[in-house]
């Protein structure tokens, strides 16, 4: 079997905040449809890494290559701002920890989902609305809520709306920063279930940051464990969680109640 080409190729990536290390010497490949989890304690550089991968922060060292549609692996540093921003709003998605950062709170759910469509040039109100209604159903939100603002939604619904808003342009890669952190456990489980289904159905690659190993266990194919800005262990999720090699990973795994 021929090995598929990676979607994202990360080599020796580093980001510093002055003298302080955000993350350094991170290398990995991500393949289409793969879910990769970045785990680690608070302050270990997970979010910095995620933002640097998405080029929302400019890296200080190393490179990120992305398999752009029709162009093959492209160094993101070589892209002009216009192309990068087009990636952000079409081929990529970004789901924020706090839905207030990822949603437009002042406009209706339909407008939130339709924003990307309008950004890529759709100009038919009826069609935009129909697509928005369809996506609302796919993230299990009642279609009657289409014209309600996100402020009228529960936390779990807001996160699902964020997912819909990002997936409407059929991105191939979605970055998620602790999407379940603000949700209670039962809502979390349902949200993760939905996420797993969508990622598998649409063959979306996901890079997901979490401090919660249970989330990683449920969703991720592969796991990266970070500490103090460095990757200390990486491998298949089950393998890594069942047989952690690094003392810190062992500590992390053993600290989880009945993981």
């Amino acid at each position: 079997m021929k090995h598929p080409a990676p979607l994202l190729e990360v080599r020796d990536l580093g980001k510093r905040y002055g003298h302080r290390i955000g993350c350094e010497q991170v290398s990995f490949d991500l393949y289409p449809g793969e879910v990769l989890c970045i785990a680690g304690e608070s302050g270990s550089g997970k979010s910095t890494l995620l933002n640097t991968l998405a080029f929302q922060l400019r890296p200080d060292a190393g490179s990120v290559h992305y398999a752009m549609a029709g162009r093959g692996l492209t160094d993101l540093a070589s892209l002009p701002e216009a192309a990068l921003r087009e990636l952000w709003r079409t081929d990529w998605g970004f789901v924020r920890q706090n839905p207030r950062d990822g949603l437009r709170m002042g406009v209706s759910a339909g407008a939130n989902i339709g924003e990307r469509l309008m950004a890529v040039g759709q100009r038919h109100y009826g069609e935009i609305r129909a697509t928005a209604a369809d996506w609302l159903a796919r993230v299990e939100i009642d279609g009657a809520r289409l014209d309600d603002p996100p402020t009228a939604f529960s936390g779990g619904m807001q996160q699902r709306l964020q997912i819909a808003r990002n997936l409407v342009t059929h991105p191939r890669l979605v970055f998620m920063d602790e999407p379940t952190a603000g949700l209670d456990v039962s809502v979390q489980a349902r949200f993760l279930d939905l996420l797993r289904g969508l990622a598998a159905d649409l063959r979306i690659a996901v890079i997901l940051v979490t401090h919660d190993l249970a989330v990683a266990r449920l969703l991720a194919h592969r796991l990266i464990v970070m500490k103090q800005g460095r990757v200390i262990e990486t491998g298949l999720t089950d393998q890594l969680l069942d047989d952690p090699q690094h003392p810190y990973t062992q500590l992390l795994v053993s600290s989880v109640l009945a993981a």
Binding site: R85, A111, M118, A119, V120, R123, Y125, G126, I128
Partner: protein
């Protein structure tokens, strides 16, 4: 047309020559890049922000001794803002002023474009409170500049989409966003959307000045100006059920005036010059109305 004597002690048109040259340079750039907001060093003017400090700086920068100036406020030649700006320029330049659109070479306006079609060689100066069309959607100036540069205007449609959700139609009635020359998104200052079509391929030069926000922008003659809309909700201007009560006009922008405490109302042209002309030409509406002044 009334000729006046210039006041001693002020430079011609109040501003010093260096300032006028600086504003003209900004205006040249604005004309060269239609719809692009050019920063300029806005000066303190002898009137408060929001009363037309941007407009009068632009007028002061372009006015010449041979110009004939008309000033309107919401279409009227005889309201406070219009009367005072007109008398200001009479004092500091001594140029002729007029209420007749056809005679004017320079028209400073607050929130209307005259009903009488403009002609080649005329200059319109608009007073602009907030020049940035994306301001209420994106608060960061650095970000709105990138959005302009890259033509990322999808978010403006989000606003129009939301209008239709809430009101069943695009409910934005003034300051209706337009795309100038196929590139820049522009706020046409708070003119009613009724006037938007008059911007499209107008033979006159349109200059916009925002004093507090320190920006000028322009629509040169014969430039495409397209109002944003949806395919299934096309742009449309306001319509009224009644004609003007004074002159019977059906093609003009009408103001609604409450005339008693029982809610009786009448609709009259907002453009006073246009309405007077029609009345003098023998047109009249339901309230007849003897020709005003």
């Amino acid at each position: 047309m009334t000729q006046a004597e210039a006041h001693d002690g002020y430079n011609f048109a109040y501003l010093d020559e260096h300032t006028k040259r600086m504003i003209r340079r900004a205006l040249l750039k604005a004309v060269a890049i239609p719809g692009y907001q050019v920063p300029f060093g806005s000066r303190e003017m002898p009137l408060p922000y929001g009363w037309g400090t941007g407009g009068i700086q632009v007028t002061a920068a372009v006015i010449g001794r041979a110009d004939v100036l008309k000033v309107i406020d919401q279409g009227a030649d005889d309201t406070t803002n219009a009367v005072n700006i007109r008398s200001f320029f009479r004092k500091v330049t001594g140029v002729a002023t007029t209420e007749r659109t056809r005679e004017a070479t320079l028209i400073q306006t607050r929130h209307r474009i005259p009903e009488t079609p403009l002609s080649e060689g005329q200059i319109m100066v608009f007073q602009v409170p907030i020049p940035e069309p994306l301001r209420w959607l994106e608060p960061r100036e650095t970000e709105t500049r990138s959005m302009h540069a890259l033509r990322e205007y999808g978010v403006m449609h989000v606003k129009l989409y939301e209008d239709i959700v809430r009101h069943g139609r695009i409910a934005t009635t003034y300051d209706y966003p337009v795309i100038v020359n196929g590139h820049y998104l522009m706020r046409p200052s708070p003119i009613p959307k009724f006037d938007n079509p008059k911007l499209h391929r107008s033979p006159a030069l349109m200059l916009f000045g925002a004093g507090r926000e320190k920006r000028v922008y322009a629509v040169p003659p014969d430039t495409d100006v397209r109002s944003l809309d949806f395919d299934d909700h096309p742009f449309a201007i306001e319509r009224w059920d009644a004609p003007c009560a004074l002159c019977g006009a059906t093609d003009a922008y009408l103001d609604e005036i409450i005339i008693d405490d029982k809610g009786e109302r009448m609709y009259v042209c907002s453009d006073t010059e246009y309405c007077n002309d029609r009345q003098q030409a023998g047109h009249h509406g339901t309230q007849g109305g003897a020709p005003r002044a």
